[in-house]
Symmetry: none
Subunit: 211 residues, 4 copies
DNA sequence: CAATAATCGAGACGGTACGTCGCGTCTTGGG
DNA sequence: CCCAAGACGCGACGTACCGTCTCGATTATTG
C-alpha cells in the first residue's frame, strides 16, 4: 500500500495549489514497477516477485521501489489491487434479492484468481502488519458486512425474517462460507451465491418451507 | 514428510528383529526439532521457520534436519500435525448434538490465541507455500469437514434434516463462520457454537419452528 | 576547482561594471559548503565527505555543490586550501633562521591535533584519490618545499653551506622528519624545529663544528 | 588482517591436537580470494577492489570473504602483504655501512610499488583503525627504528659520531626522508640511501670534511 | 515594470556496492 | 551410520551515496 495512501487527503496535490517540494515522483516509473510486478507474479507466483527482479525488469533503481513501498508484500498488494468492486445498493424489494446481490459480488471477487490471491495474501500478512489489515478491513470488509447486516435487520423489521435471528452470526455464516469456498474450491460453482442464500434462508431442519 | 515414511514399514524395523546398521536416529533430536519449529511458527509464522533458526534453537545440526525432512514445508507439516485437537466421534443421537460437538472443538481451537494465530498465519501464507497448504488441508481440514458432511448426510437419511440440503454449502457455512469469527472477534463468544448451529438449523425466514 | 576559475578574469566582473544576468551565486551557500566539508573531513576523513552529507549539513541542495565543483575531490581541495598556514618569507639573514622559520610553521601545523589529523587522513587516502593528492601537493606541499629549496640554494651560493649538498635529499630529510614526528609523537616537542635544524646543519660525524 | 591473526596463538591448530569443530575453511577459496583481489588491484587500483567483484572473480560467495575479513581494507592489507623484508643485522664495522644496510632495505621496500602502496594504505587507515596501526608499528616500524637507534648509539659510544647527537631526531630525519621520498618520487633514485646517509653524516654547513 | 535568466532548496531518478541473512549442500572429528 | 558444528556457493535483502534531473520559488539584470 502506498505510503501516501495513509494520509487522509483524497487529492494529494490539489489542496490550495500546494505541492511537495522537490522533483515529483515519476508516474512512468510507478506504472513500470507495477506492470513488472504483475508480470513476474503471473510468471512465477509470489516467490518470483523479488524486488531486484522487479527493478531490473522495470528499468528502475531499487531505491525507486523502496521509496514508494516499504516491502515486497505492500508492492504486491498494490499491484494486485484492482479497484474493489462497487457495492450494490440493496433495492429493498426482498431480502433474498438483496442478499444475492451483495453475495454475488463477493463470490465473483473470490472467483477471480487474481483478486482471490490478493485477498489471501493480505490475510496472511494480517498478523505481521496489523495496521495494514485494519485499514483493509475498514475500507473493504466492513462496508460489505454492513450491507448484509442492514439487509438482515430490515428483513426482521419488515417481518420477512423471524425475530430471533442473531444478525452477527448469520452474517458470519454467509461471508465465511464465501471465503472458505473461495479458498478451497477452484473454480467456484457459478451458482454458489444462490445456493448459499437459499440454504441460509431455509435452514437445515426438515419442515415445510413457509414462503 | 519423513523420507522413511515412503519406505515399506517392514524395511524399517520388522526384519526379524534386525536393525539398520550404524547409530540409530536420536528421538531427542526429533522432538527438539519439532518443538523448535512450532515455537518459531507461533512467533513469526512460516517466514520465521528458517531451518537455521530451528537447528539453533533445537541445538541440532542442520544436516540432522535435512536427513529427516526434505524441506521446510515438510517439517512444518509434521510439526503442525501434532497440534490438531482430536476429533470427537459423533454419537448419532441427534444432528444438533453431533454438530455442536465438532463445532465446539473448532471454536475452542480458534479461541486459543496461540492456535488461532498459527492457523491464521498458515492460511495467509498458503499462497506462498501451496504444497504445505495442500497437505495441511488433506491432513487437518478435510477430516473435520468429513465429520460434518457425514453428520449432515446421516441427518438427511434419518429424516431429521430436510432432503434438499446442499451438504457442501451447508458445511462451508458452518466452518466458514467459525474461521471468520475467529479471525475477527476476540475473544470469541463462549456460546458461538450453539448460536451457529441453531441459526443454521432454523434458517432465517420467518415461520414456526418445526422441532 | 571552481569552474569559473578557468574563465579569464575579465569575463567575470570587469566588463565595464556589467554582471552576468540571473541570480548571482550565494556566498553564504559557498561558505557553508566549505565549512561543512571541512567539518566532515575532520570527523571521518575523505570517506566521510559525501556530497549528500555536505549538502545536508550545509543546508544546501546537492546541485548547488555540483554547480561549483565537479566532484568530491575538487571540493575537498578547495576546502583544504583554506587551511594552509601562510608561508613566512625568508629574510635571508642566515640559513639557520630561515630554515627555522619555515620548519616552525610546519611543526606547529603538525602540533595542532586537528590539522595533523587532517593531514594524516589526507596522506593515507592519497592512494585512493590520486588527483586530490596531486593537487594538494601542487598547492600546499610544493610551495613549502620550494621555500626550503631556495633557502638551501641561497646558502650554497652565499658560501654559508658547503657546495656538495644534495638539495633535494636535504629537503626531504627536513620535511620528512617533521611528518614522521607529527605522526608518531604526541605531543610534539616544542623545540623540535630547532633540534631538527641543528642536527641537519651539523651532521652526525664527530668533528669540531666550524661555525 | 585476518581475525585469527589477532589471537596470540602462533600455530592456530597444533595446540594439543585440538581443532575447531565443523568444516574447516577452504584453503582453495582463500587463495582464490587473495589472487582475485590482487588481480583487481593491479587492474584498477584500490577503487577496483569491490567485494562483489572479488567474489565473482574468485568464484566464491561474498559471505566466504566476510567470514575471513571484516572489510575491504583488511582484505587488501592481507592481499598486499608480502612478508616484510628481513632486517639486516648491523655488522658494526662502520656507522655508515650499518645505516646504509638498513636504509637500503627501507628504500627498496618503498621502491616496490606494491609494498609502497600497501604502506600508504595502511597509514591512511591508521586513523580509522588505531589497533591495526598499533600492531603494524609494533611489528614492522619500531624494529627498524630500533636498528637505527642502536647504530647511532653505538657510533656515539665508539667515538665515530659526535657526542651531542639527538638520536631520536636524527632517526626521524633518516626514516622520514625515506617515507617522504617514497611517497613523492617515482621511481625512487637508486642511490637514495647513499645520498641520504652521506647528507646526514656530513651536515649542511660549509667546512672541510673530517673523515 | 515586466520579462528574462540563473540560482536556490528539495528531492526523485537509474545505478553500484555494501554488508547481512537464509538457503540447501558438503565436510570435518567424534560417538 | 548418526551427531554437532560450521564452511561452502548462491542469491535476495534493504541501505547508502553516487552524479544527474526536475520541480516551484527567489533574486538580480535587462528591455
Amino acid at each position: 500500500m502506498r505510503e501516501a495512501a495513509v494520509l487522509p487527503v483524497q487529492d494529494e496535490e490539489a489542496r490550495s495549489g500546494g505541492r511537495k517540494p522537490g522533483r515529483p515522483r515519476s508516474e512512468r516509473a510507478e506504472r513500470a514497477i507495477l506492470d513488472a510486478a504483475l508480470e513476474l507474479f503471473g510468471e512465477s507466483g509470489v516467490a518470483g516477485v523479488c524486488i531486484e527482479a522487479v527493478a531490473t525488469r522495470a528499468g528502475v533503481g531499487k531505491a525507486t521501489i523502496y521509496r514508494r513501498w516499504p516491502g515486497k508484500q505492500d508492492l504486491l498488494l498494490d499491484a494486485l489491487s484492482t479497484l474493489k468492486s462497487p457495492l450494490p445498493e440493496p433495492h429493498g424489494e426482498s431480502v433474498r434479492d438483496d442478499l444475492l446481490a451483495i453475495l454475488r459480488v463477493m463470490v465473483s471477487d473470490m472467483a477471480d484468481p487474481v483478486r482471490a490471491r490478493r485477498f489471501t495474501l493480505l490475510l496472511g500478512e494480517g498478523e505481521a502488519h496489523p495496521l495494514l489489515m485494519a485499514r483493509y478491513k475498514e475500507r473493504v470488509v466492513e462496508p460489505r458486512r454492513d450491507v448484509i447486516r442492514s439487509v438482515l435487520r430490515r428483513g426482521i423489521a419488515s417481518g420477512e425474517l423471524r425475530r430471533g435471528i442473531d444478525v452477527e452470526t448469520a452474517m458470519l455464516m454467509l461471508t465465511g462460507a464465501v471465503v472458505a469456498c473461495g479458498r478451497d474450491i477452484r473454480p467456484l460453482p457459478e451458482d454458489f451465491a444462490e445456493r448459499l442464500v437459499d440454504e441460509a434462508l431455509l435452514g437445515l431442519v426438515h419442515r415445510p418451507a413457509v414462503r
